[in-house]
């Protein structure tokens, strides 16, 4: 009897602690979102979203930064999505599993942990200097693409691993070629997971500052980029400037909060897109 009570108390304490941890995390997150929402909400207006900054960025909007972030994320996606997915398919389905593939996997995991400023400096050397793309939206997009690749590959491979081997064997036993078995009986079930992981990686890239700092993001531009060789404004960099580098920090603070809110909503929106894609494709099966 006594032991039974003890067990119950232990269980209660255990669950209580787990729940408390969750609540603490949630509270911090909500407080953070609330603070940004409260201070930034006032800055949001149609003008703020559609106009360029004016009067030394103390007035006007952030449209060039929104546009720049979209453009650079698009270039990132064009590089990282197909390349990452195809590399994952090769690594998981075709490559002979052994010491070499283990080493490659380990390297990819390590690359996804490399600080983003390192990618930024690497991008300066490779894209800006060696390949002579200059400081441009192209260089920045490619740098972000490189940074996102390890994430895309890892997430895509995890998604491929969730497809049971019996689907592959079943197709082969019916006289399918390896490519047919992958195309018709593996990819349809792995693609939702692959896309989810990929979009999450892209969302992270969209919010990065360090990789674009030296490769193409501009402090202020009175015009939108007209070609891939132009510099661009980006939300995270714009926020960084308004928060720390501006000569009238107090005056632009509401605008900085507004920018932060837009950036968070953008990233949140991309993550929601990932969830919706997964949900849609899952149901279609």
């Amino acid at each position: 009897m006594k032991q039974a009570t003890q067990k119950k108390i232990a269980q209660f304490l255990g669950f209580f602690m787990l729940r408390a941890c969750l609540y603490v995390v949630l509270a911090v997150l909500l407080l953070f979102l609330y603070d940004i929402g409260r201070k930034g909400g006032g800055a949001i207006s149609w003008e703020f979203l559609t106009q360029a900054p004016r009067k030394g960025m103390t007035q006007g909007g952030i449209f060039p930064a929104i546009f720049g972030t979209f453009l650079v994320t698009l270039i990132t996606a064009i590089l990282a999505v197909p390349l990452g997915m195809c590399a994952a398919i090769y690594l998981n389905e075709y490559a002979r599993q052994g010491r070499l593939t283990r080493l490659i996997r380990l390297s990819i995991r390590n690359l996804s942990g490399v600080p983003s400023i390192v990618y930024g400096l690497f991008g300066v050397i490779l894209f800006v200097n060696i390949m002579r793309f200059g400081t441009s939206v192209l260089s920045a997009g490619l740098t972000l693409g490189l940074m996102t690749l390890p994430w895309t590959i890892t997430a895509s491979e995890e998604a491929l691993k969730t497809v049971p081997n019996s689907y592959r064997e079943g197709a082969l036993a019916l006289g399918a070629t390896k490519w047919q078995s992958i195309r018709t009986n593996v990819l349809p079930y792995a693609v939702p997971g692959m896309l989810t992981g990929t979009v999450l990686g892209l969302a992270r890239a969209a919010g990065e500052t360090a990789p674009i700092l030296f490769t193409g993001a501009a402090f202020f531009l009175p015009y939108l980029p007209k070609s891939l060789g132009d510099q661009f404004m980006a939300l995270p960099y714009h926020l960084y400037i308004m928060a720390t580098q501006h000569h009238q920090i107090e005056q632009v603070r509401p605008l900085a909060y507004g920018t932060a809110l837009v950036l968070i909503v953008l990233v949140l929106g991309m993550n929601m897109t990932a969830i919706v894609i997964r949900f849609r494709l899952r149901r279609k099966r």
Partner: protein, 256 residues
Amino acid sequence: MSDGTTPPKIETKDLNFFYGPARALKNVSIACAGNRVTAIIGPSGCGKSTFIRTLNRMNDVIPGIRMEGTIRLDGKNIHDPDVDVVELRRRVGMVFQKPNPFPKSIFDNIAYGLRINGMRERRKLEDVVEKSLRGSALWDEVKDRLDKNAFALSGGQQQRLCIARALAVEPEVVLFDEPCSAIDPIATAKIEDLIQTLKKSYTVVIVTHNMQQAARVSDFTAFMMLGELIEFDATEKVFTNPSSKLTEDYITGRFG
């Protein structure tokens, strides 16, 4: 085993098989007669699944394997360079231990093998789907819901679906790798009946750990142990008057 009048449909000679350094098959020579059911029995780990998977070269996909000896289908070595493994697997179908329907509709499951071979005609596909489902005695149970997901079927129905899927590509040999180990006795009885009818049109090789099943469905029985073929003879002979002491001990339940 052949009855001497017709050449065997599929035949192995001195088959040795290695997973890395481990030897899974030792000089196994078995000849399976056409339009007959050959059962392979033996305790767990005796190599019977490895053996049956060599017959349609399903082991090819496992890294680090090595094989010696020959396997002939209609007298033709299936490892000859001019043999297309994809075509071999179409001729030698396989039903796996665990039912493995694809997460598609019943119709699409059966049509899968035809579609990957380029068949697009809806009419023809419908004919083959019906014929295959009738062939695996599943048609009456599913004819009104061919567009439903195959996962909605019971375990026994799923396995008969897999049999129908294998039959749809018109194989010559059908390999069963412990087809009833994951399903209930009533469903098992249905599949055993089915195997009996299949031998009219196909050559059947079945691996089973259930001796009664081997006795009920097969014409010839091979008994394997630790990768070696101990005895191979007509089923009646193996179960009533085995020539090896090991076989006798196994079938009378003294081990295994």
